[in-house]
């Protein structure tokens, strides 16, 4: 799987941060426009539920907005440790984990009562293979799932993901490959070198 480097402009990021700390409303919307996509997609694949992903995305930016009002916007962000995108994905990851640990279980789309018009995700999920892949990703332990999402779906480099997750690059690469093998097995294709799921869960 090729991993491409995401566009990251430190100067532009600094400018955005400075504008945020000057509490310019347009800067907050700029921040939202830049990062809401990756945040939402990450949360969507982590939760498997577009409603939950939307709520968590909103929660993340509401939290930033509150700190924006209090003049402590992104106080925890340290540019020396990584880019802003990595910080926000880490934020989203924590939100997803916290939400999951609170006992909120996200119902898979197949179990939802779709009295409204199906969303694009649901239409995609109706396709058998993609649907199975989607379910297989959700069955991965969170530690593997987040790596598969970032490296496989978002095509981030191992280095970036290692920075986001605060794990060694080797761990990220290992988890990604094992996650892929697990997915291959779940999709009905044999993978002799794959360890059983119980082992993966124990490691996560």
């Amino acid at each position: 799987m090729s991993a491409k480097k995401p566009p990251h402009d430190p100067v532009d990021e600094k400018r955005l941060l400075a504008a945020l700390r000057e509490r310019k409303g347009s800067a907050f919307l700029d921040l939202y426009d830049r990062y809401q996509g990756i945040i939402f997609r990450f949360l969507l694949h982590m939760t498997g539920n577009d409603t939950a992903a939307e709520e968590l995305t909103q929660e993340l930016f509401v939290s930033i907005f509150k700190s924006f009002e209090k003049d402590t916007v992104l106080a925890g962000f340290n540019a020396e440790r990584g880019c802003l995108e990595a910080y926000l994905i880490g934020f989203a990851r924590n939100l997803a984990r916290r939400s999951h640990s609170r006992g909120q279980r996200w119902a898979p789309l197949v179990e939802l009562d779709l009295s409204y018009q199906p969303t694009l995700v649901e239409e995609i999920s109706s396709r058998s293979e993609v649907k199975r892949l989607r379910q297989a990703i959700l069955d991965l332990p969170p530690a593997y799932r987040e790596v598969v999402i970032l490296c496989g779906l978002e095509e981030r480099s191992y280095q970036d993901v290692a920075q986001i997750l605060d794990r060694p690059v080797g761990t990220v690469a290992s988890r990604f490959n094992r996650g892929r093998m697990f997915l291959a097995k779940r999709l009905g294709k044999s993978s002799p070198g794959l360890r059983p799921l119980g082992r993966l869960c124990a490691e996560s």
Binding site: R41, L183, L187
Partner: protein, 204 residues
């Protein structure tokens, strides 16, 4: 081709299929959060009014409190130095000191009837229905007035003159009943004429 090589090729083929499916899932997934989330933030930003930083506001509040305290303190000092005293607030318990000319020393209340001794000799003529204390002209203006004791004395014209108070009509046979406010040093600071009448034998 050995069995192991064949298995390896199969595995790579499976993984490449998983990768292809992941790309497909990534492409078909929604790229952005629903627009309604952004609308919420747009409204929030429109309603947001940047104000002074919290730290600045705290300093401003602290400065205002200090300023108010200073104004209050200096106002009290200036008021006391100008000789303005409240008749009720400056009334104090009788002093232990009993100067020879004192008719009686007692606590002065706003509605305290005139001393029986004075009444018995001569019904006093009220000089002023609501007499007020006035600062003695020769007292040290830098000292606080009314700091300890109020005493009642019978004073002659000459004694009033010695204190800097000139009677309207000079009459050596006339006596004045007056309240004197003594300072901490025992010297009079302010005077209030309670009544006047014929000279009291044995008075000062």
């Amino acid at each position: 081709m050995s069995k192991e090589e064949k298995r390896q090729m199969e595995r790579e083929s499976e993984l490449s299929q998983v990768d292809a499916l992941m790309r497909k899932l990534a492409q078909d997934s929604p790229r952005q959060a629903p627009h309604r989330v952004r609308l919420h933030f747009e409204i929030a930003i429109q309603q947001y009014r940047p104000s002074e930083p919290q730290v600045g506001r705290r300093w401003l509040l602290a400065a205002a409190v200090v300023f108010a305290a200073l104004v209050s303190t200096f106002g009290t000092i200036i008021s006391n130095r100008s000789g303005h005293i409240s008749p009720t607030s400056k009334v104090l318990p009788p002093a232990n000191t009993q100067p020879p000319s004192v008719l009686e020393t007692h606590e002065i209340a706003p509605k305290t009837p005139p001393p029986a001794k004075v009444k018995r000799r001569q019904p006093p003529k009220v000089a002023n229905p609501q007499p007020v204390f006035v600062r003695l002209p020769f007292s040290d203006p830098t000292l606080m007035v009314g700091t300890s004791v109020t005493i009642r004395l019978a004073l002659s014209d000459a004694e009033l003159l010695a204190m800097g108070i000139r009677p309207i009509e000079s009459d050596p046979s006339r006596s004045y009943v007056a309240d004197l406010v003594l300072g901490d040093d025992g010297l009079p600071r302010a005077i209030r004429i309670v009544s006047h009448g014929p000279r009291i034998p044995g008075g000062s």
